[in-house]
């Protein structure tokens, strides 16, 4: 498959209350990328995702999604926000949550048809949550909820999956299973995930970028201590080349 550019950010700046959140971001996401973006809390990770989705307008710079504006191009993006933010008591079933992913394909006042239902059920099947379709989503475990939200994103038939802190709400034993799921999905779509948890991300992704207002993008998994220091301002766990992350705590 030829590498197609899905998302392009050119010199993007975002300010909030006169303070810069993102500074001169250049980023290109291609159709078979599996990119991990790491950085400290408040480093602009969520803002970056929202800029790609067109939820935040950059004060400077240009964003294109599938060669179009983010508002038009975002229907090709499956977005998974920090799932621990929703109301656990909300009366909605798993299937209804996944059907939300079909909305961008339908229209105002139009009802879902058999095809939409089929797509939603298939998405649930892919994340192995089909048996839970009639359950209330808030009553599931963190890992199960995560899968439901992935299914919702998959129901949009995305070319790109954006995940915001996906491991924040699932317990460590579920994390391996979660990354294996992503490993299967990356065959058919590009994936970008942001996290402050370096070690978890590094094993599975193909590329890593560090974000702390500025983006240090490497195109490979090797990140030098210098670059990490630039983005974190304080050296913490380092990632080495290879499959197993070393955790090295350097002196401050």
């Amino acid at each position: 498959m030829a590498e197609k550019e899905l998302v392009r950010l050119k010199d993007v700046w975002v300010y909030q209350d006169g303070v810069s959140i993102l500074e001169g971001i250049n980023l290109s996401i291609k159709s078979s990328d599996f990119l991990g973006i790491i950085g400290p809390n408040g480093g602009g990770k969520t803002t970056l995702l929202k800029v790609i989705l067109g939820l935040i307008k950059p004060d400077r710079g240009r964003v294109t999604v599938m060669g179009q504006s983010p508002e038009r191009g975002r229907k090709y993006i499956g977005y998974i926000s920090q799932s621990n933010l929703f109301d656990r008591d909300f009366p909605i079933s798993v299937l209804d949550v996944v059907l939300m992913g079909r909305y961008s394909k339908s229209r105002l006042l139009r009802r879902y048809d058999e095809q939409d239902r089929k797509a939603a059920l298939e998405a649930l099947e892919r994340v192995e949550m089909l048996d839970y379709r009639d359950r209330q989503v808030g009553k599931l475990s963190g890992g199960e909820q995560q899968r439901v939200f992935i299914a919702r994103a998959l129901a949009t038939n995305p070319r790109l999956l954006l995940l915001d802190e996906p491991t924040a709400s699932i317990d460590p034993t579920m994390q391996a299973e979660f990354y294996e799921l992503l490993d299967r999905l990356k065959e058919t779509m590009a994936i970008v995930l942001v996290s402050h948890d370096i070690s978890a991300v590094s094993v599975y992704v193909n590329q890593i970028a560090c974000l702390n207002r500025q983006l240090f993008y490497h195109g490979s998994k090797e990140v030098s201590a210098d670059e990490l220091e630039k983005s974190y301002h304080c050296p913490i766990q380092l990632i080495a080349h290879g499959t197993v992350p070393h955790r090295i705590l350097r002196e401050h």
């Binding site: 929703f86 909300f90 909305y103």
Partner: protein, 280 residues
């Protein structure tokens, strides 16, 4: 009570209770799950400005309230979304300003306002025929809008960000939801009054939420609960010669607390039996 039913005012009162229950059952569910209770309280209280305006220009105060609540719903919605003012600050300000305007308007009106008290605290026994018709029409508008936009309103309430990414017009829809609240306030004014509206917007929905995880069933249950509350409150107020609006609210609130108590007691009983089972 049965002989009371042959009086026209009693039949009207029951009809008013029924119409009020439909509006608060449907819209109240969104108020509760979208957590816009405080905003709804603001809209309800600001509608007092419309009551005053009605007195001042000599039209039915409920019609004045309708124009005013829609305007204040849009106003509160736009101010909280488009300005830097914190939401609860904006609500508090518009809440008080609406009421202040009402007082000024009434002060400027010639003569005195005889049934002012009934707009503040409701009087289900004196709902005029025209107001009943207005309530029925507003109920119909609410039902049609919610049926047409059910999916969008559900998505807005559950996950506004994802909805926006999916192409749901969330900004306009949020304003529409507040307008639905405004219409519901108008429907409820005659029954429980401006100050007590918020109770009927929240209690039936909160009660229904305990028994189902389907939004549609929640609306149905909340409507039924509203009917039971208004009828029971009406009957009690008739029997004990108490203010009807306040009695309806107290019946509703007491039922809700009893229901919470039972749910808690059953849960602790379950935990107790589980603990004794595991230790035994």
């Amino acid at each position: 009570m049965l002989e009371a039913l042959q009086y026209e005012f009693m039949q009207n009162a029951l009809l008013a209770g029924l119409l009020a229950s439909i509006a608060c059952g449907i819209v109240g569910v969104f108020v509760v799950v979208k957590k816009v209770v405080f905003i709804s309280g603001g809209i309800a209280h600001a509608s007092f400005g419309g009551i005053g305006l009605g007195y001042l220009v000599g039209i039915n105060p409920v019609l004045g309230a309708m124009a005013f609540t829609i305007a204040s719903a849009l106003g509160i919605g736009l101010v909280t979304r488009k300005t830097r003012l914190p939401e609860d600050t904006a609500i508090g300000i518009l809440w008080a300003m609406g009421m202040a305007l009402g007082i000024i308007f009434i002060g400027l009106s010639p003569g005195y306002a005889p049934d002012l008290f009934s707009y503040l605290f409701g009087n289900i026994l004196t709902v005029p025929g025209f107001d009943l018709m207005l309530m029925a029409v507003l109920d119909a508008v609410i039902i049609v809008l919610v049926v047409l936009l059910y999916r969008e309103l559900l998505y807005l309430s559950f996950d506004e960000e994802f909805s926006r990414v999916s192409g749901v017009p969330t900004g306009a829809l949020y304003l529409l939801l507040l307008c639905l609240v405004a219409l519901t306030v108008v429907v409820l004014i005659r029954v429980v009054g401006i100050i007590l509206v918020i109770a009927l917007l929240t209690i039936p929905a909160a009660l229904a939420r305990q028994f189902t995880h389907s939004l549609k069933k929640m609306m149905l249950l909340a409507t039924l609960a509203g009917i039971v509350f208004t009828f029971a409150g009406l009957w009690l107020s008739y029997l004990l010669d108490l203010a009807s609006g306040a009695t309806i609210i107290l019946v509703s609130g007491t039922t809700l607390f009893i229901s919470f108590g039972i749910a808690r007691w059953r849960q602790s009983a379950r935990e107790h039996s589980r603990r004794s089972a595991s230790s035994g």
